[in-house]
Structures are given as structure tokens and as C-alpha cells.
Symmetry: C3
Subunit: 353 residues, 3 copies
């Protein structure tokens, strides 16, 4: 078990100590669970009561946080980032134990870096390459000529199909699929005399996953019809996300769980799409656009756009319109009353004239 003094933690993550810098800390824990040898984190003013009740030895807080007196705290520019770094000190990333399991199926023409680890029941097909210090877990399958870079984690039952390219420091969570065929068919009314059919358009391209990307469990990234489906550097993709053929996801984008992006759509840098949002094919989403949960985007978005709803509209307008929607029944009643009143006025007017 690693242990650090509070002062040491502050030095490592770039914060300032208030209280006993010599305090020895052996772990991280949420405010409500932490004991005197653990350091915790105040995420949010909302949790101030939890802070007061906490038995945590120390707490990471924002620079300007108002904290109860007598508490050991570590103040940092970004408390969440500092806490994440501290947590990494206590939970260092898994390191490869250089070995190719005799129970793995590694083709003779595959290249596995001597510092990499290939666990039992993983397969590395002909011509595939595994970079330095990468770990390939049981059940992960790399297709022919697939390439996985350095310092990657290829978790259990991941599939990287033939010729796809995965960069360095990429994490592929269990069950995700890289390089499945895109969904492309041409309607063939004749079907060579046998009647209509959907003729499969060859999906001859690949997927490129750039450095520092993470792809979530059971997510799917389809290979391009021709060319490349690209996940840009540092993008983070959650579980059960669908990325269709020829999509480009810009660097540092964030796609939450169950998001779906249809074919050939281009996302700029730092785009954020929240859970279950969908984007149609062949559109362009500008840098730093934010798409609300469950939104349905049917057209291009400008850089920095913030949208919600299905079909998606600017989020502020959507929130207002939604508030009215929730009073529609009342509004209809008012409209009816008004019609009756106007009819009465008109009738009276008619009589009057």
C-alpha cells in the first residue's frame, strides 16, 4: 500500500496545505466513507454538510473554498483534477508483465513487443502488431494487420478488426468493437433475377484511433466504406456508443453513453454529446458544440452551439418551449375560453350594429 504525507501530495499535484503537512495518508475515499488516514474531495458546495460530518484526514478543495475551521485541507487550482492525480498516486495504472501466454493464439507473422503482455485466450492474427508495454487481456481479438500502439490497455473481449490502427496510450474497455463493417447497402430491385435485395456495399476502409483515446465497453466504431473512420487524439467515448462509417470525431471530444453518430458526420474539437443523443449522417458539428442528453441533431451546428431536444434547437429556447409544452393543456383551455369570449363579443357587436 503506498502512503504519502499531505505535504508530499500537495507538492506532487501542485496545491497548498492548510493544517498538518506531516499527516500520513494511505488512500482516497468519498467524504462519507473516508477515515483519518484517507484524503477526500469536496466536489461541490452542495456537499459542505458531508464535509463537516466527514472523518477524512484531509480534503482537497478549490483555492477559494470556505472550509470548516481546524480541518487539514489541500487547496488546488482545480480540486477535481488534483484529486484525480492524487487518486492515481494511490491507484497507479496497471503495468504489463512482459509475457505472451502460451494459451494465447499469436500468429507467427504477428509482432508483439517484448515488453507487452498478451494474456490467455487473446488472439493476434497474421501481421498484427502490439506495441511496447501494451496489455492484451483474455478474449481480445486483433485481426490481420491490426496495429495497437504503446502503453495501451486492450481489455477482455475487445475486437479490433483487420487493418485498423490504434495509437498510443489508448484504452479499449471490454467488449468494444473497432472496425466492424459500416452499414451500407444499395437497393437492387432486380437482384439478379431473384427480386429485390439490399446489395452490400463493401466496407473496405479502416478505423484510426489516435493517441490517448478511450472507448467504452461494448461501444462500436465502424470501419469506413472507403478511407478512414477517425477518433481524434484524446477523445473519450463512453459505453454502448455507436460511431458509424466515415465519421470523424475531433480531438478531445466527449461522447457519453449510448450516443449514436450516423455515417460521414464530422465532429470538431472538444464536442460534447451527452447520453443517448443522436446525430444524423453527413453533417458537421463545430468545435466545442454541446449536445444535451437525448437530443436529436439533424443539421450542422456552429462552433460553440448548445442544443437540446429532438429535433435539436438552441438549448435556451428549447428549455423555454419545453416549459410551455408542460402547460399546453392549460394553454389550450385558455385559447378555447378566449375563442368563446371573442365569439360572444362578436355576436354582441353583430346585434349592436
Amino acid at each position: 500500500v503506498p502512503a504519502f504525507t499531505l505535504a508530499e501530495l500537495a507538492r506532487r499535484v501542485g496545491g497548498e496545505v492548510e493544517g498538518d503537512g506531516a499527516l500520513r495518508l494511505e488512500g482516497v475515499a468519498p467524504l462519507e466513507d473516508a477515515g483519518p488516514a484517507e484524503i477526500s474531495f469536496l466536489a461541490n458546495k452542495k456537499y459542505r454538510r458531508a464535509f463537516e460530518a466527514s472523518r477524512a484526514g484531509a480534503v482537497v478543495v478549490e483555492r477559494d473554498a470556505d472550509v470548516p475551521p481546524g480541518r487539514a485541507v489541500l487547496r488546488a487550482e482545480s480540486a477535481y483534477l488534483a484529486f484525480a492525480k492524487i487518486s492515481t498516486l494511490f491507484h497507479p495504472p496497471r503495468e504489463a508483465l512482459p509475457e505472451v501466454s502460451p494459451l494465447a493464439a499469436v500468429h507467427p507473422t504477428a509482432t508483439v513487443d517484448p515488453s507487452a503482455q498478451v494474456m490467455p485466450l487473446a488472439s493476434i492474427a497474421a501481421g498484427a502488431r502490439v506495441g511496447a508495454r501494451t496489455i492484451v487481456f483474455p478474449g481480445a481479438q486483433l485481426g490481420e494487420d491490426a496495429r495497437v500502439g504503446e502503453d495501451c490497455l486492450v481489455y477482455q473481449n475487445v475486437v479490433v478488426r483487420e487493418r485498423c490502427v490504434v495509437g498510443d496510450r489508448v484504452i479499449l474497455q471490454p467488449g468494444c468493437v473497432v472496425g466492424s463493417d459500416g452499414f451500407g447497402f444499395a437497393l437492387d430491385m432486380e437482384g439478379e433475377g431473384k427480386g429485390p435485395r439490399h446489395y452490400k456495399v463493401p466496407q473496405a476502409g479502416i478505423v484510426v484511433i489516435e493517441d490517448d483515446v478511450e472507448v467504452g465497453a461494448n461501444s462500436c466504431v465502424d470501419r469506413a466504406t472507403l478511407g478512414v473512420t477517425r477518433i481524434g487524439r484524446g477523445a473519450k467515448i463512453d459505453n454502448l456508443v455507436q460511431i458509424a462509417h466515415n465519421v470523424e470525431v475531433g480531438p478531445l471530444s466527449i461522447l457519453a453513453s449510448q450516443v449514436g453518430i450516423a455515417g460521414s458526420t464530422k465532429l470538431g474539437m472538444g464536442v460534447v454529446a451527452w447520453g443517448q443523443a443522436g446525430i444524423v449522417g453527413h453533417v458537421t458539428i463545430g468545435d466545442r458544440a454541446t449536445i444535451n442528453a437525448q437530443a436529436g441533431v439533424g443539421h450542422d451546428l456552429e462552433p460553440g452551439a448548445r442544443v437540446a431536444g429532438s429535433p435539436a434547437t438552441p438549448d435556451v429556447a428549447w428549455a423555454r418551449n419545453t416549459a410551455v409544452f408542460n402547460r399546453l393543456t392549460e394553454m389550450r383551455r385558455e385559447l378555447r375560453e378566449l375563442r368563446a369570449e371573442v365569439a360572444r363579443l362578436r355576436e354582441k357587436e353583430g346585434k349592436g350594429s
Copy 2:
């Protein structure tokens, strides 16, 4: 092939026979397919015509059901439950054939109960434990120190990552993932001098799946950032469901296919969420709340609440407002006509004065 008399079935599931108790039944079938040696089930008054046309030897019905004369029926308090139990008699759960396949990869420090079955191409990592009578199917991967209890079915290509805990009588359908990393990143504008990045927050917690839970095919349950993501006793989760880090799903809850629950949200007991519904993070859903298909829940729900729509509102109000939505074009026209009429009245009034 097992066979039972109608009287025997009634005795076993607690119902009453009308007609020939000595009737020998060899299987269960839907009303439209059942033959004279099969027992069927009247789900719903709507299917009464199918009942009349059915060739089924016997039919399970509710205590007070009105049935055609001359039919052998088994009346039960809950016909559906009685039918389910009868079906179980004809389709008993699969039993483990105690054996560890020589084609499985079982680490020497793993513990597999002698009554358990580990099939070919399954892996059981160091320190992992498999309980009595549990079946681990081909391609299932249990990580280091993972624990699976007794009488479980761990179907093909399931992943249970390191240290996660699965209770007794749990069914994990093919391809589901237990213990993938939660989706947590801290924005790091400096990135150690290389520019902005999403810094990975270690996902150091685990998943606990309590007894009698079922998790559907290709569903994902993320491990906690710290602490536990918990699926409560007897909860049933359908396919392609996303459970994020630190979520708690209460006992006996039902989550239909493609539901997504974001981080740290707590579901009470017996919560029901229908297909494609989503719940944001950090909220609390009261016991027995019901969430309609495709609803988007953005805030806490009271026990027993029934909601629909996105954003979710009480389902009765939502249904009414939706009905108005479907006449919005008409309503706008009425509003325009009314404006014209009022303008006319005002103008006339202006002239009049």
C-alpha cells in the same frame, strides 16, 4: 421429455383443475401452436378468440376467467406466474456438469468449486472464485479476484473484471460487462505543458451484483470511481443497458432494454424503467417509481411517481400535453384567426369611439 398430468401440474403450482385432471401433458405452447398434449396460457381477454380456436389440451387461466365450455383449464391466482412455473417444469434450468475444461484458462490461484462447470475458452484469472454449481460458458472472462457465487449462469463472452462480486443465482447473459471503468475525466488545461487533455480519474471501486439478479446481453455495469456500483437483490436488467459508476439499483427493480443511468444515481426498490429511458446522474428515484419508454429523467422522483417524456413529467400530464402537441398546427391557426378577429374588433371599436 418430462410429462405431467393436469392434476399434477395444478398441485405443483397451486391451481384448480376444471375438466380431465388425468390429461397427460408433454409441453407448453402458445394458444395458436399448442396441440392436444400441450398446455397453453390465456394472457389476456384480447386473446379469447385464439383460445376458442386453440387445439391446446389445457389452458391456464385466471381464477375468474370466463372460458368456453368443455375446455380443460387450470385456474390460478396469477395465471401468468402459474404458467411460468409450469413452463419451468417442462424446461428445467440447465445444471452444471462438474468439470473444468482442459481448454479453459484457469489460473492456479483461482478457486473453482468442484461442483461448478468451466467450459472451453473461458478464463478464470488469479485469485478469482467460482461458486458451487455455477456454469461458466465459453469465452467468459473473470478478472483477478473476481467472485461469482453459487448457481450462477455466466454465459458466453461475459466479462467480470477484477475484484467485482457477483452473488448467488445470478444470470449474466452473453456479452455483458461487469466492472468496466466508469467514465470520469478531469479537464486539465495544462496537460504537463502539452496542452489541454482529459485526465483519467482512476476507477478504483468495484461492482457488487447481489443475489438473484439477471443482467442482459451486452449490457454494461461500470465499476465505481471509489466504493461500489450496486445492483440490488432480484433486480432484472435487460439487454444493452448502461449502468454508470457508483449507481445503485434497488432490489427488484426492472430496467428494460437500452435504458441508461448516469453516474451516482440511486434507484429505490422496485423501480421500473421502460425501453430507452434515460436518467441523469446524481439523482434519487423513489421506490416503485415508473419511468416510461424513452423518458428522460432530469431530477429526483418521489416514491411511486409515474413519469413520461423528455424532460420527464407526470405521465398523465404528459399524455394530455402530447395530445395537444399533436394539434399544435391547428391551435396556431386558431390563435391567428383569433388575433385577426380581435384586431378587427379593436379597429371597429377605434372607429366607433
Copy 3:
């Protein structure tokens, strides 16, 4: 590398050449990437500028397309279909290398056609059958008595559970699951004296996937409770799609990514459902109905119906109502102004009378 003259391509796919039929072509590429030895495709008038700028040696266009002078073109009745066929000439489907890998787990009672290929770490359980020229990739698991027909591609980590039947020329993309248990439980308030539980209804049926179907990565097709869940001939299913127990998907239907279809629903022939759409259980969707992305279908649809929204309504009405929704705030303001105006008129009238 295969190569063809333009005239040869035209002959093979049934089009007409304008320009140099002797032009030698070595590949296909998008307009913007194609070089002089490649043939490209004009999808859409919208891309005419890309056509003009393209360095492609030849371009496939519609019969009546207006093209820049001096270009070699191949005119075809359906340009997209012709291009797909040309692409297939350059990217012929993968062929089985007849072999059962010694690293596969093939039960002695399984039947693998001598022309089929079973790769390392695939499992073929007792009684299962693999047809001629089919390829079973690493990590694919066929359960007991499962049957896969001829000329199929069963990609990495696919699961076909026991007794399910897959036809000829079927493609199962990585990680898809065929034959997982349907989601069926009967509420049991007693639970044999231990309190309420969800009693599992045995899922004793199977899945039948007819010829020429494709199922996408990580999609799930549940087995029937009793009887058959059926995917009709030539239907195409994208990634992460959920097909519940006892569903029938009609021939030639198209289900885009993340679509969900609840239990016992029947889809006719040629139904199209776009991304993230959902259909409730126990309804019937007529032939050639089209369901928009994210729509929620709660009732039967007539043949040829076109719906959108949640709950789904005819798409034209939905588009109009949505347009009004996006001006609801303005509409409410107008209504308020009108009420004030009418109140003023009434008051005046009151004074006047």
C-alpha cells in the same frame, strides 16, 4: 491488386461508357481522394463541385447526370448500386481457407463442413453445425445444436446460443448475440415465503435468422419464450440494436443503429427504422412503413406509414407540429397579449353597456 478497364467495369455492372473505355482502373475512391487510376462515384448533385475538382480517372454517374465535359464516366441506371458492384470487384468478399484451427474448441459431435474455416479460440459446442465455406472467427461461440448455414461470416466474439438457426450468406458482425434469453418475469408476491420476487419465465424458444441477413456489432436478438424470434430473409440490422423475444422482422427490413423492438412485435416486409427509434411490444408494423430516428412507436402502423416523434405520429404532421413547438414561447406571449386585449374590450364593453 485486381485491375479492370472502364469498358470491362461497364460490361460487368451493366452501364455505358462515355470517354476512354480502355482506361485501366485499379481501385475505387471518394471523389476527393481518387487518383487517375481510380474510379469514383457522384452520389448527389450536391457534390458536383467535388466532381469538377476530382482527379478520378472515371466517375460512376446516374443515366441522366449532367457532367463536366471531357470526363470519363460510367452511366448506370442506379449509380450507387453500380458503384457498389464495382467496389465488390476490387474488394471481393473474404473466402474461407478450409481448416479447423487446433486452437479452436470443436466438440466431437459438432459438424463442420470440410470447406469451412474455424479460427483459433472459436468454440463449436456439441451437436452444432457449420455450413460450407462459412468462416468462424476467433472468439465466436456457437452453442449446443446451433446451426450456421453456408457462406456465412461469423465475426469475432459473436455468440449464437443453443439451438438457434442461422441461414446462408448471413453476416454476424463482431460481438452480436443471437439467442440470449428474452426478458420475461412473472411477479411472485409470495416467493415461496421469502417475499416478492420476479420469477423467471423460461425462454425455451429459439432464434431463426433467415438467408442473406446481416446483424451489426454488439446487437442482440433474444430467443423466443416459446416458438421463434425471426429475422426475415435479407433484413439488415445495424449495430447495438435490440430485438426482443418473439419479435418477427420482415424480409428486407432495415433497422439502423440503436433501434429497439419490444417483445412479440411483428414487422412486415421492407420496414425501415432509423437510429434510436423504439417500438413497443405486441404491435404490428405494416410493410414498408418508415420510422424516423428517435421515434417512439406505441401502436400498429399501416403499410407504408411514415412516422416520427415520440409518441410517433405521421411524419408530415409531426414536422409541422414541431415547427410550432419551436415557437411555443412566442405563441404563449401572443396568447397572453390577446387575453389582455380581449379583457380590455370586455371591460370597455361592460362600461359601454
